[in-house]
């Protein structure tokens, strides 16, 4: 189920006076099992790039091949969009139906599934995003709280059972607890989706969740990194003007204050464990 991108370029307002190149000769491959993070500043082309995956943007130059289907040729849109699910920024703004059930069922219905299959998928999707199915199914999506609306909207995409899931800033505008919960849910989706692609400005989230990170800059792929490789490299981060995740900053600060913790983990739990170990060792040393 790989996504292969070769020599992809894209112009906005093609053949007009306002023509502007948004993507320059992009090439990389996303493989099964990848949890790909795409980071970069506003206007770096992240969203333009990912909307090629489900053909919301047509390929102008180069090729995008999703699971063997070349998107620069003729292909079946519906089949592609069933395979590639996309959760947009602030997805709660796309809720429209009378009840949460009907709204979540919109995608599966468009795929032409039968009622029974739809019912099964809708229930599973609503449960998957951590909502109480019996409590919300008959309620209007507009009565839900902000966080619940976001989950309901994500369920609407999950109900299509996509094999590739693309999330554009899934935690934007949520409070810290809401952010954590949504990220935890997304980790849970890995059991269903072979590939997850997440655009994010929150480096803590990227560091804690992604298995691979692509940095975009002014319409080009600046680099393709393993998380540890990127986030512990201070020169690289400052060259890219990317914030250092809190875990790395904390490790550095602690080391400046006399600890010597290894700078190779992005996992808060691991850092905490090491810190506790180091503190114990110090105290032990002090007592001895």
């Amino acid at each position: 189920m790989p996504v292969e991108i070769r020599g992809l370029s894209y112009d906005y307002d093609q053949k007009t006076k306002f023509q502007k190149r948004a993507l320059f000769d992009i090439g990389f491959t996303v493989r099964d099992g990848d949890f790909l993070g795409i980071v970069g500043h506003t206007g770096s082309g992240k969203s333009t790039l990912v909307t090629h995956f489900n053909a919301l943007n047509r390929v102008q130059q180069g090729t995008v091949v999703v699971d063997g289907v070349d998107l620069s040729q003729k292909f079946d849109y519906k089949a592609l969009r069933a395979k590639v699910g996309m959760v947009f920024q602030y997805p709660e703004y796309q809720l429209f139906d009378e009840t949460v059930y009907k709204d979540v069922a919109f995608g599966p219905k468009n795929l032409g599934l039968d009622e029974r299959e739809i019912a099964v998928r809708v229930e599973a999707a609503i449960r998957m995003v951590g909502l109480d199915y019996d409590a919300v199914k008959e309620r209007s999506p507009f009565e839900l709280s902000g966080g619940q609306m976001r989950r309901a909207a994500i369920a609407g995409v999950l109900a299509m059972r996509p094999e590739i899931l693309i999330l554009d800033e899934p935690t934007a505008g949520l409070d810290p607890r809401g952010k954590r919960e949504v990220m935890r849910l997304i980790q849970g989706f890995r059991a269903m989706c072979k590939i997850i692609v997440m655009i994010s400005h929150n480096m803590d989230e990227v560091a804690a969740n992604c298995s691979r990170i692509i940095v975009m800059n002014e319409g080009r792929v600046y680099g393709d990194y393993a998380p540890e490789e990127l986030f512990h490299n201070e020169e690289l981060l400052s060259a890219l003007r990317i914030d250092m995740p809190a875990v790395c900053t904390l490790t550095r600060r602690l080391n400046e204050r006399g600890f010597s913790l290894p700078e190779d983990t992005l996992d808060e739990a691991v850092l905490l464990e090491r810190l506790v170990g180091a503190v114990r060792a110090k105290r032990g040393g002090g007592h001895a």
Binding site: T51, L56, R81, F88, Y93, Q94, F96, N110, F142, V157
Partner: protein, 282 residues
């Protein structure tokens, strides 16, 4: 949706752009009234010359202006066909007949005039919006309607509503694109050949659009409130509109042009020049 020409400002510098919006609004009103008064080809010809001059003076590419006609193509074609087919003329004007279809010479004239009228009606106001920023436009409307304040018409509020509405058109278009994409990603099909299916397929776009318009309206009201907006009372302006020499010149020209059209159309001075004597005066 991206090529809605009406309400679009074309940012270049020209005499037309620098004219006072009040003058331009009045000119457009006069122009529209004129279109309804005249019904001879010779007057339409004059109108075309006048429009061409306006377009050239405005530095807006003529092609761009013509594009504003694109959305009324069907309306024009429909009007022409209806007029051609259902016109009841005098028997000696009959050109061609088949079954119950009768085409009269006068019907051809009448339908052509109708088409010209519709096109003129669109191009004139389009030139106003091409050369006037929405802010200037609403300013002008507010000042022109000012006398109505005497009979307690909330002129300032009307102008404010207008400017906000104009400002939000591009925002809503963008929002609609986003929602459309989101629903497309969920397998929605907006390109169905069946027109009813297509109308129904827009529901998942329009409802979120309404919801977000209300949300935006609320937010905007809060933002205005928090900056102590209290309507017109005690409010002064940063840019006060002032008529200059060129504005008076434009008004004079407009009056002259209006007179010309009426003269051409109604043949006021048959002793001086008799337009009716021209062979193509119809």
């Amino acid at each position: 949706m991206r090529d809605i020409a009406i309400g679009q400002y074309y940012p270049v510098d020209s005499v037309m752009h620098r004219l006072d919006p009040r003058v331009k609004i009045l000119a457009v009103l006069i122009y529209i009234v004129t279109i309804f008064f005249i019904d001879t080809f010779i007057a339409y010809g004059g109108l075309l010359l006048f429009l061409t001059a306006v377009i050239l003076l405005s530095h807006v590419p003529p092609l761009k202006v013509l594009k504003s006609l694109r959305m009324i193509v069907y309306l024009v074609v429909f009007t022409v066909l209806i007029t051609l087919l259902f016109y009841n003329g005098k028997p000696d004007d009959l050109l061609w007949q088949w079954w119950i279809v009768k085409i009269y010479r006068t019907a051809i004239h009448s339908s052509l005039k109708m088409a010209l009228r519709i096109m003129f009606l669109i191009v004139g106001p389009t030139m106003l919006t091409f050369t006037t920023t929405p802010v200037a436009l609403t300013d002008g409307v507010e000042r022109l309607l000012a006398p109505l304040k005497l009979i307690r018409v909330p002129v300032h509020s009307i102008a404010m509503i207008m400017s906000i509405a104009l400002r939000l058109i591009p925002t809503l278009v963008e929002e609609m694109d986003k929602i459309k994409n989101a629903q497309k990603a969920r397998g929605a099909d907006f390109d169905s050949k069946n027109i009813f299916k297509r109308a129904i397929s827009l529901v998942p776009v329009l409802i979120p659009l309404f919801v977000s318009s209300f949300r935006r309206a609320n937010d905007l009201a809060d933002a205005m409130d928090s900056r102590c907006y209290r309507g017109a009372k005690g409010r002064t302006r940063m840019k006060v509109l002032r008529l200059t020499a060129k504005d008076f010149a434009a008004m004079l020209i407009m009056a002259a042009v209006l007179f010309m059209f009426l003269w051409l159309n109604f043949n006021f001075f048959p002793g001086l020049v008799d337009f009716r004597a021209l062979p193509w005066f119809v």
